[in-house]
């Protein structure tokens, strides 16, 4: 059987075990359903709006470039996925910077763990494809090999935003105390 399938199975298993361990450990603190308070709901609404606007802007620019030059810097499915990622990252970072991504009583560590896990999984996927000889750029265009890399970058941005915001939150808490 192909090694890739075994790696995928291992990644899924680690993910499931990690989720069970973390959710059991934080079971007393985390509610069954994630709950956002009224301020967070309002901010999340704004976050979705800015994510949507960013995505629309990206696709408009993409369409203009294609129609004007007839060329694109990457394969169509990759470019579409990057647009979706931009929307999601803008929404997530907007919510993180305003303390609205993580619900009331939800564990910060759990969110960071999941983010870091997804980041690593995508990086491993990318490195594996490169090791198998897949090209990042072919005929002057980015190939779909760049997809896991772009997803990893998205998770990296979210992770950095989470850690930076946490740093400021701790400072706020110290000032309050």
């Amino acid at each position: 059987m192909d090694w890739g399938l075994w790696i995928m199975i291992a990644v899924v298993l680690i993910m499931i075990i990690g989720m069970i361990v973390v959710s059991r450990r934080d079971g007393n603190r985390a509610p069954e359903n994630e709950v956002f308070d009224e301020r967070q709901k309002m901010i999340r609404g704004d976050g979705y709006k800015w994510g949507f606007v960013s995505m629309i802007c990206y696709f408009m620019i993409y369409a203009i470039i294609i129609s004007a030059s007839g060329h694109t810097i990457g394969e169509p499915e990759l470019m579409i996925f990057i647009g979706l990622e931009i929307g999601l990252v803008v929404c997530a970072v907007y919510c993180i910077l305003r303390d609205a991504l993580i619900g009331v009583n939800r564990s910060f560590k759990f969110v960071v763990f999941m983010d870091a896990f997804c980041l690593l999984a995508q990086l491993i996927g990318y490195l594996r494809e490169r090791a198998n000889g897949a090209l990042l750029i072919e005929n002057g265009k980015l190939t779909s090999t760049a997809l896991p890399l772009s997803i990893a970058v998205s998770f990296m941005i979210i992770l950095v935003a989470l850690l930076v915001r946490r740093h400021y939150q701790k400072r706020e808490e110290q000032n309050e105390a």
């Binding site: 308070d37 009224e38 301020r39 303390d99 619900g103 009331v104 309050e176």
Partner: protein
């Protein structure tokens, strides 16, 4: 405008932002935002905060209009 009345009422009961937030079911950052004047809470949340702190809405959220000179 900062809500110093809320901060004072909370401090008088020796409650941290985290503890008050837990009692009214919101995040600590929401209580912090209200105290800083960055967020105007709904009447529902105002009432919940008043109940926990044993104060009235007037005590915590009523601002006297400033007179123009």
């Amino acid at each position: 405008m900062k809500n110093l009345k809320l901060k004072a009422a909370r401090a008088s009961l020796d409650l941290s932002q985290e503890e008050l937030a837990g009692k009214v079911g919101v995040s600590r950052q929401t209580i912090s935002a209200i105290e800083k004047g960055d967020y105007n809470p709904t009447i529902k949340l105002c009432v919940a905060i008043c109940r926990v702190l044993g104060r009235t809405l007037d005590d915590l959220f009523w601002e006297e209009p400033k007179e123009d000179r």
